[in-house]
């Protein structure tokens, strides 16, 4: 990992160096030097709201997609989404960028989802979001053609059906890879397994998805 010993006084945000005031107290931390998000998080921790807004706008969509795919329920995904960001906000004072912010964020998301499953004593099964819910969540089609909307909905439905057939461990790894764009090592860290285990789970997940989607294409 590209880590460097880092002193807070030396922080300069490449995006807006003058906009973020330097944090009050100098902290020596191991920082992933090229992670702008970590610097934004530190700037937010020192009281800069604009830093949080930037951070939020960068990750909100990916995090939301991940939670919707995992929970398969719009309302639950909304709740989990707010809970994840609440944890980000709550940990701002003791945040230390020892890994990429994205890894930190999706670790929180993964843990929030696992906590949710423990609370309800089950992981969601089946397709989850029905077509009407999915249509509400998706943005309106630009050209508004009925066939385009139908095609998109059908594709989405088959994809969600294939996802639902995956074992939870494989689905976790696959969704983290697809939605968070983390590396295998980072996914392994988030899910608490070795990199080889994560790779193996991802390989199985991708193989099953490919087979399931190919089968439904043939049936059409």
């Amino acid at each position: 990992m590209n880590a460097a010993l880092f002193t807070m006084d030396g922080v300069t945000s490449p995006e807006a160096p003058a906009r973020f005031a330097p944090p009050k107290a100098a902290r020596r931390v191991e920082l992933v030097s090229d992670d702008e998000d970590a610097q934004l998080m530190l700037a937010y921790a020192s009281g800069e709201m604009r830093a949080f807004e930037t951070l939020y706008s960068r990750h909100r969509a990916a995090l939301y997609r991940y939670l919707v795919r995992q929970a398969r329920d719009g309302e639950i995904a909304n709740d989990l989404f707010q809970e994840v960001w609440s944890r980000v906000i709550a940990t701002r004072a003791r945040y230390e960028p020892r890994a990429k912010f994205r890894t930190f964020l999706f670790t929180l998301a993964y843990n929030c989802f696992i906590d949710h499953c423990r609370r309800v004593k089950a992981r969601p099964g089946g397709l989850g979001i029905d077509d009407a819910d999915a249509a509400d969540l998706l943005p309106a089609d630009e050209d508004g053609r009925p066939e385009a909307v139908l095609q998109r909905d059908e594709c989405s439905r088959r994809y969600r059906a294939a996802l639902a057939t995956l074992p939870p461990e494989q689905r976790d790894v696959y969704l983290l890879h697809e939605e968070s764009e983390l590396s295998l090592e980072e996914i392994a860290r988030v899910t608490g397994v070795g990199a080889e285990t994560a790779k193996s789970r991802l390989r199985y997940a991708v193989g099953k998805l490919k087979a399931a989607l190919a089968a439904t294409e043939e049936l059409r």
């Binding site: 939020y56 997609r65 609440s86 709550a90 969540l137 998706l138 764009e181």
Partner: protein, 151 residues
């Protein structure tokens, strides 16, 4: 020709998709965005030191003590019984003056003859002012006499 291993490596490095997946652009609702941003803003506002006015630590006790002292003083002032001012009569004032005058009177004022003899003596000695004062006193003492002895 690419085998399954190479396909998977391409997938891992995001060079080539293995299957068609929906291109959906799921976004969190605007209300959720507002809630998250409001929480973030409120959290850092709580971190900032409150700039409410705070007086010195000794201010409150001092103010209480001063107030109690003022109240106590006013209450004592009104609770103290008013002493009646005695009326001073002319007689009460005149009496000590006369008592003082008689007390200081020389012996020769005891009888008229001695007093007049003293007056004559003072004139003979040329102490006319004193003789006049003694004569005036003699006249005040003996108001029945219309005329002084020198007339």
């Amino acid at each position: 020709m690419s085998g399954p291993e190479e396909e998977f490596d391409d997938f891992l490095s995001r060079r080539k998709p293995l299957f068609r997946r929906p291109v959906d652009d799921l976004q969190p609702p605007e209300e959720v965005d507002r809630v998250v941003l409001r929480r973030a803003r409120e959290a850092i506002q709580l971190d900032r030191p409150q700039r409410a006015f705070r007086g010195a630590n000794w201010g409150a006790p001092l103010a209480i003590a001063a107030t109690l002292l003022a109240v106590f003083t006013v209450v004592l002032h009104f609770m103290q019984p008013k002493q009646a001012i005695p009326e001073v009569t002319v007689q009460q004032v005149a009496q000590p003056v006369e008592e003082t005058g008689t007390a200081a009177a020389p012996a020769w004022r005891g009888d008229s003859q001695s007093w007049l003899a003293q007056i004559e003596k003072l004139r003979a000695e040329g102490r006319n002012a004193e003789a006049d004062a003694e004569l005036a006193a003699y006249k005040r003492e003996h108001r029945a006499l219309a005329v002084g002895p020198d007339r």
